[in-house]
């Protein structure tokens, strides 16, 4: 039975905004063919989080997020380095980075568990996610991130649209395409980091990809696509949280991922998967 207590309300509000943010930034990543970049970055945050957990002697939120940032940035730099200096294609590079960082992250977590540090369970939470750990502090961080993202997207709407659609033409028009690319990638990473403890490393990419994929099936208009993706992300997160809260032993991250994927599959059936006939 679902009981709307204070904690659940905080979790729902937090997930509403997180789902909205993930759907919004995921839509841009989807159009820029960077969906798998989000997956690789999410996995790459694991070693940094585990190392920060050991160095900070426990689950200090700031240090864990800082560790995840450093780790994610290392992955990003490695991806760019491999892309420029090798003949590997992007999918190969992302596969390498994802495996290396996630493997190293698991080793770090095993090492961290050998120390008698408080809140050890938080490390496994980062892999699978747990909304029960959400507090008001998390809610503020998610809210600020969502507002910042929405504001920037609204302000640079035409620039983001142009650089996403046709970066060569954008460069001839004097736009600094690299800056907008970096902006989107950093926002993608920020969204992943704030969602890690709630949805988990493994399923964070689902929250980025599934709403955008479903949205693309319903519309061929840029603004509607971005708006629907944010809406689907928010709905999937809230519905997932409520299902997770209503039944005992229901892991939050996987339930949200299943809801998001179910909606995408449902959209595929309803629209017959024909993206070219929707206008």
């Amino acid at each position: 039975m679902l009981c709307f207590d204070y904690t659940l309300c905080i979790v729902i509000v937090c997930m509403l905004f997180l789902g909205c943010t993930a759907g919004l930034i995921g839509a841009f990543a989807f159009l820029r063919e960077q969906s798998l970049l989000g997956d690789a970055l999410a996995h790459a945050c694991l070693p940094g989080t585990a190392i920060a957990f050991i160095l900070a002697s426990g689950a200090d939120r700031f240090w864990l997020m800082f560790g995840a940032w450093c780790s994610g940035l290392c992955a990003l730099v490695s991806i760019n380095l491999l892309r420029r200096t090798t003949v590997f294609k992007m999918d190969t590079i992302l596969g390498i980075i994802l495996s290396v960082f996630f493997g190293f992250g698991l080793v770090c977590i095993t090492m961290a568990q050998q120390y008698a540090l408080p809140q050890q369970s938080l490390l496994t939470t980062i892999i699978f996610g747990n909304a029960a750990t959400i507090c008001m502090y998390d809610c503020y961080i998610v809210l600020i991130t969502t507002c910042m993202l929405a504001l920037h997207v609204a302000l640079w709407w035409k620039e983001l649209k142009l650089t996403t659609f046709d970066h060569v033409y954008a460069r001839t028009q004097g736009y600094s395409v690299g800056c907008y690319d970096a902006f989107i990638t950093l926002l993608l990473m920020a969204t992943i980091i704030i969602g890690l403890r709630i949805v988990g490393v493994i399923l964070m990419s689902t929250l980025l990809i599934a709403p955008a994929a479903a949205s693309r099936l319903w519309t061929s208009r840029f603004s509607t696509f971005i708006g629907c993706s944010a809406l689907f992300g928010a709905c999937a997160s809230v519905i997932g949280i409520m299902i997770s809260a209503a039944f005992h032993h229901m892991p939050t991250g996987p339930v949200i991922a299943v809801v998001a994927i179910m909606w995408t599959l449902f959209s595929l059936v309803l629209t017959k998967g024909n993206k070219y006939t929707v206008s």
């Binding site: 035409k158 033409y169 001839t172 208009r221 993206k275």
Partner: protein, 241 residues
């Protein structure tokens, strides 16, 4: 009057392999020029270097007597049609409106005036009835027309087009040529990468023959000779034309 384009000792290389080698040319304003040559001759590279997408190894290109970025605002670039993701969720009007973005400031979105300009450009390419259509529903010729419309909206002085006639039907080709001729009559300059040597006579009065080096450039009657074609394509090809 300044030349539209001055190319001085231009050398461009990809990984130390020269694609353009010591190219020199002065292209006057108000002409329609085809850049022709075999595959790998450096035709697209020449256009991309002119709009600073590629950095030359040596030499430079001046646009309207300037070699800095501000001159780029007078240039409209029409890329190859296949360089775009045509499944992108966007309408025809939205793509054409992109041609107005550079004239707007930061945080300013296109308004009624820009929409009017975009619709006029769509009318010029006979695509005004497709304004709200998704680009994924367009044929090859229609895709090329909206690229031309986007360039028209810019109201540029120099138009650089990379193979605009590839994969399009005859009516679209004739329409694009008539638009180009009309722009030339207004004093605009057109530089077009072109493959079909058979249509050179009907479409262009200026030609640049390029094969890494600039073989010849100038008015068609003077440049489009068997000797120059043999230097550009080899004797066997030149004999057939």
């Amino acid at each position: 009057m300044n030349a539209a384009l001055v190319i001085q000792e231009l050398t461009v290389a990809y990984q130390k392999k020269p694609v353009l080698w010591h190219v020199n040319a002065v292209i006057p304003q108000g002409i329609m020029m085809a850049v022709v040559g075999p595959n790998g001759a450096g035709k697209s590279t020449l256009l991309k270097t002119a709009i600073q997408l590629i950095k030359p190894m040596s030499g430079c290109i001046e646009l309207f007597g300037q070699n800095h970025a501000s001159a780029l605002q007078r240039v409209a670039y029409v890329p190859q049609r296949l360089s775009i993701d045509w499944t992108f969720p966007i309408t025809v009007l939205e793509v054409v409106l992109m041609g107005t973005y550079a004239s707007l400031g930061w945080f300013v979105r296109p308004g009624h005036k820009e929409r009017k300009r975009a619709l006029d450009a769509l009318q010029a390419v006979e695509m005004d009835t497709y304004a709200d259509t998704s680009i994924s529903q367009l044929s090859g010729g229609q895709q090329q027309r909206i690229f031309i419309a986007r360039a028209l909206v810019q109201q540029a002085d120099l138009y650089l087009m990379d193979e605009p006639f590839v994969g399009i039907d005859a009516p679209t080709e004739l329409l694009i040529v008539s638009i180009m001729q009309s722009l030339r009559d207004q004093g605009k300059t057109m530089i077009i990468v072109h493959h079909d040597l058979q249509s050179i006579d009907t479409h262009f009065e200026w030609i640049m023959l390029l094969n890494v080096q600039c073989i010849a450039y100038g008015q068609r009657d003077r440049v489009f000779t068997q000797e120059n074609l043999a230097k550009t394509y080899g004797k066997h090809v030149a004999m057939r034309i």
